[in-house]
C-alpha cells in the first residue's frame, strides 16, 4: 500500500525551490512523490498560506503554475475544507486552534498520522508522526 502524508505550506514551497537548497528529508520526499511511492495530501489552508506569501512576493503567476502542476499529479491530492473535516472537528478534543486542528483532522480524514512540518504541536498535541527538518 502506498504511504500517505499531509504536507504543510513550507513543504509546498520547497517542492518548487532550488533543489540543492531543499532540506534533505524534503529532497527525499520529492523523489518519492515523483516515483509514485507516496501520496501527499495538500490541505486547502496550506495552499492558501502559500498563496498569501507568493502574492506578497509578486509571484502569483508562479503560484498559479505550481497549482496547475499539483492538480495534474496523480499522487497529489488537494483536500477541500469540507463537512467531513467539520464532523471530525466536532469529535476532536485535543486542541481547538482552528488552523492546526483543520490540518490534524485532514490527517484523520485520510487515515494517516504522517505529517511533514516543523510544527512540534502536531506531535505534542495531536500525537501525529512529525517528519521535520
Amino acid at each position: 500500500m502506498v504511504e500517505k502524508a499531509i504536507i504543510d505550506a513550507q513543504v509546498l514551497f520547497y517542492f518548487h525551490y532550488e533543489y540543492e537548497k531543499i532540506p534533505l528529508i524534503l529532497q527525499q520526499l520529492k523523489k518519492k512523490v515523483i516515483n509514485g511511492e507516496i501520496t501527499v495530501i495538500l490541505p486547502i489552508i496550506a495552499i492558501a498560506e502559500l498563496l498569501w506569501k507568493m502574492r506578497r512576493a509578486g509571484k502569483t503567476s508562479a503560484f498559479k503554475e505550481a497549482l496547475n502542476r499539483w492538480q495534474n499529479s496523480e499522487n497529489i491530492i488537494i483536500d477541500d475544507f469540507n463537512l467531513e473535516i467539520i464532523n471530525l472537528m466536532i469529535k476532536n478534543t485535543e486542541s481547538h486552534e482552528l488552523h492546526d486542528e483543520i490540518i490534524a483532522m485532514t490527517c484523520k480524514k485520510y487515515n494517516t498520522n504522517i505529517i511533514y512540518s516543523t510544527d512540534k504541536k502536531f506531535e505534542e498535541i495531536f500525537k501525529l508522526q512529525l517528519r521535520s527538518w
Binding site: F13, F15, H16, Y17, I34, G36, E49, K53, R69
Partner: protein, 82 residues
C-alpha cells in the same frame, strides 16, 4: 536536431524505442510514455514525466517561510486566534 529511423510494426502494433534513445531520455521499464496523434498523420511519443520533475525552480528568488511569516499567514486566515 531531428533523428529518424524506420521500423517494422508488429502484428499487434508494437514498435521498439531504440536503446540509444531510451538511454538518452532515461526511459526504463518503470517509466510510461504518452502517445499523441497529430492531425491524423503523426504519432508523437513523449516520456511521461511527473509535474514535480520539471526543473525550472518556479519559486527561485523567493525565500522560504520564516517563523514570523508562517504566523502572519496563519493569522491572516484566522485573525482572532492567539
Amino acid at each position: 536536431m531531428t533523428k529518424k529511423i524506420t521500423q517494422k510494426v508488429s502484428s499487434n502494433g508494437r514498435i521498439v524505442i531504440p536503446k540509444e534513445w531510451r538511454d538518452k531520455l532515461a526511459i526504463d521499464d518503470k517509466n510510461e510514455v504518452e502517445l499523441e496523434l497529430k492531425d491524423d498523420k503523426t504519432i508523437l511519443v513523449k516520456k511521461k514525466i511527473h509535474p514535480l520533475e520539471i526543473e525550472d525552480d518556479l519559486f527561485k528568488g523567493v525565500t522560504p517561510f520564516t517563523e514570523k511569516e508562517l504566523e502572519e499567514a496563519k493569522n491572516s486566515l484566522f485573525s482572532d486566534e492567539k
